[in-house]
């Protein structure tokens, strides 16, 4: 474990990306993620890498496509409205099976929304976001340490499966400072025989493309891609369990709200309420199995999120609606307080988990 340094979450992502071998970054200013770009602007010239402030988020994601098509590690970052603009490019990355890392430090929406933290891009992130059938791997950090360690993980998974890994953070994670250890460990390298490196007149030309005019071919390509997604769902699910051994109520929460929920759970436990938490670290693939198993033991679930209840749908699907799932949420840049979460835990505890 390397020495810990005090860093902002946004900066931790940037430095971790560089340590993961990402020497190309394309960005565009938007609050609350601009520190990623500012950090890259300082660091990239010093390591012979590329920092480029594009003319738009649209161009930035297409520059990412350019680098990704040559087989090198590449990243862009933005916040909610900017990620909407990148959706076209993310769909192309999916259609071309290109690896890349996209960071979304979420703010409130819809529209221009606000600049305070939010988790309301959940659907956009885990269901695809752009057009067509596809998924991104979605990682949800809940500390500055995870902003770094999940960035390492994101690059590895992107290369391993040749697809987009998204870091779904929020304004709190981006802005807060915590001690962080920047130890990338061993960085895996993956063969990329499809990469555009110039034929050198020694091989047939490589083509990076998402166009399939023959419906049979596009049909087959999509089915193949979903076989890959199935493998990922089987092998790459990450979550944290907190006090779940004897829990009767299961809180489900990710990112900053999971930390708030932990405080509320501790207070509830002090009062004797048997409550625990499953914190998804991968939002896609979603930790369906562990939630479904929990549904056989718990009487109710509480989804604590900073959206109007987007994740709650995935929880209900995961547990096959076997138990009620309640929502505890604030939106628009408001963060639920531990008191609010505790009140919801108490309420659910008292009514015994009945609908």
């Amino acid at each position: 474990m390397s020495e810990k340094v005090l860093m902002k979450g946004n900066e931790a992502i940037a430095e971790a990306a560089i340590l993961a071998g990402c020497h190309h970054y394309f960005g565009y200013p938007i609050t609350p993620q601009t520190e990623v770009a500012a950090y890259m602007a300082k660091r990239m010239p010093k390591i012979g890498g590329t920092f480029l402030q594009a003319e738009s988020e649209v161009s930035a994601i297409n520059m990412v496509i350019g680098v990704a098509s040559t087989g090198k590690r590449v990243m862009t970052s933005s916040s909610s409205p900017g990620v909407s603009l990148k959706a076209e490019g993310i769909s192309y990355l999916a259609g071309c099976d290109l690896p890349a890392v996209v960071v979304n430090v979420q703010r409130g929406g819809p529209g221009l929304g606000g600049i305070q933290p939010s988790q309301s891009d959940y659907f956009q992130s885990v269901k695809g976001g752009g057009h067509g059938d596809y998924h991104n791997i979605v990682l949800a950090p809940a500390s500055v340490q995870e902003m770094a360690s999940l960035t390492f993980k994101a690059f590895d998974l992107a290369d391993k499966y040749s697809m987009v890994s998204m870091i779904l953070a929020d304004g709190t994670m981006g802005q807060m400072m915590e001690p962080v250890s920047l130890d990338a460990g061993e960085v895996n390298t993956y063969e990329k025989p499809w990469a555009l490196t110039g034929t050198n007149c020694e091989r047939k030309h490589n083509i990076v493309n998402s166009l399939y005019l023959k419906p049979e071919a596009l049909d087959q390509k999509n089915f193949e891609r979903y076989e890959k997604y199935k493998t990922i769902e089987e092998n790459e699910v990450m979550y944290e369990e907190y006090l779940m051994d004897d829990a009767e109520i299961c809180v489900v929460s990710f990112g900053i709200t999971a930390r708030v929920a932990k405080n509320a759970i501790n207070e509830a436990r002090a009062k004797g309420v048997k409550v625990g938490m499953i914190r998804p670290i991968t939002l896609w693939p979603f930790p369906k199995k562990v939630l479904n198993e929990a549904a056989d033991k718990c009487k109710a679930f509480i989804s604590v999120e900073m959206s109007m209840g987007q994740m709650i749908e995935d929880i209900e699907l995961a547990i096959r609606c076997k138990k009620p799932v309640y929502l505890c949420n604030r939106v628009g840049g408001m963060i639920p307080t531990p008191e609010e979460v505790l009140a919801k835990i108490d309420e659910v505890n008292e009514n015994g988990g009945a609908f």
Binding site: L52, A54, I65, S69
Partner: protein, 251 residues
């Protein structure tokens, strides 16, 4: 028996899908001849557009990436920044480059990206069946300007070379045509210079090729070539619009 004419090495054996009389075939050939002559086939990476030339990746023997509509210069920026030793070109039509991709065009020029842009202007959206383009001439009838382009309601065509001549970062901007032998020869010279510039690290070069669309113009191929002289070139005059190195030499 000596060979006096053959297919450029940089073109594949694939049969072009373009309509009879379309000048994409000529322009593809010119680009391929230039790549052959400069000996850069093995280190060239092309960026295909959305539009009639979307399948350019099947016709050239070099590596290729297909970009979203209008985004080719941004994708090319990524490819070139990834490995500046590669020769990177985009091949784009008027809808792609001068409408949906205007920002990418202007800003890649402003950044002086060391890339080569081949811009094929035939004043119409060909692939989607003949709609009004940013370069459709005033009065020109298309599927979405059925009474002729009315500048009072839809405004004026975009003159890309004139526009880029005011962008400081653009190094070399020339408009050529391929409607007769003399123009084809000039076009090749310009395309070669645009690639040569990139090899020498001189920055952003764009060659606008005034082209035809007999199918959607509703003309025979011969008539379309004449229409280029009669209507297109008077509105889009041929010539060098910017050449910063020639300007420097002249000083």
């Amino acid at each position: 028996m000596s060979v006096v004419f053959e297919k450029p090495k940089s073109l594949t054996d694939a049969v072009l899908h373009y309509c009879p009389g379309c000048t994409h075939g000529i322009i593809h050939r010119l680009v391929a001849e230039v790549i052959d002559e400069l000996g850069i086939e093995g280190k060239t990476i092309g960026v295909a557009p959305v539009g009639c030339a979307v399948m350019a990746y099947d016709y050239f023997t070099c590596d290729f990436v297909q970009a979203a509509h209008g985004r080719a210069p941004a994708v090319a920026t990524g490819v070139k920044r990834s490995d500046p030793s590669k020769i990177v070109f985009t091949y784009q039509g008027d809808g792609d480059l001068a409408a949906i991709g205007t920002a990418e065009t202007v800003h890649s020029a402003a950044r002086r990206e060391n890339i080569t842009v081949i811009f094929v202007n035939n004043a119409i959206y060909g692939m989607t069946g003949g709609q009004m383009a940013p370069t459709t001439l005033p009065g020109q009838v298309t599927q979405t300007s059925p009474y002729g382009r009315d500048v009072e309601t839809v405004g004026y065509p975009v003159k890309v070379c004139e526009l880029l001549s005011n962008v400081d970062g653009a190094a070399y901007v020339e408009r050529v045509a391929v409607n007769n032998v003399k123009n084809v020869k000039n076009a090749k010279k310009a395309i070669k210079k645009a690639f040569q510039n990139q090899i020498e690290g001189k920055g952003f070069s764009l060659i606008e090729v005034v082209s035809t669309c007999p199918t959607n113009w509703g003309m025979t191929p011969e008539k379309a070539l004449e229409w280029v002289d009669e209507k297109m070139i008077p509105y889009y005059p041929l010539g060098v619009y910017k050449d910063i190195y020639a300007e420097e030499e002249a000083k």
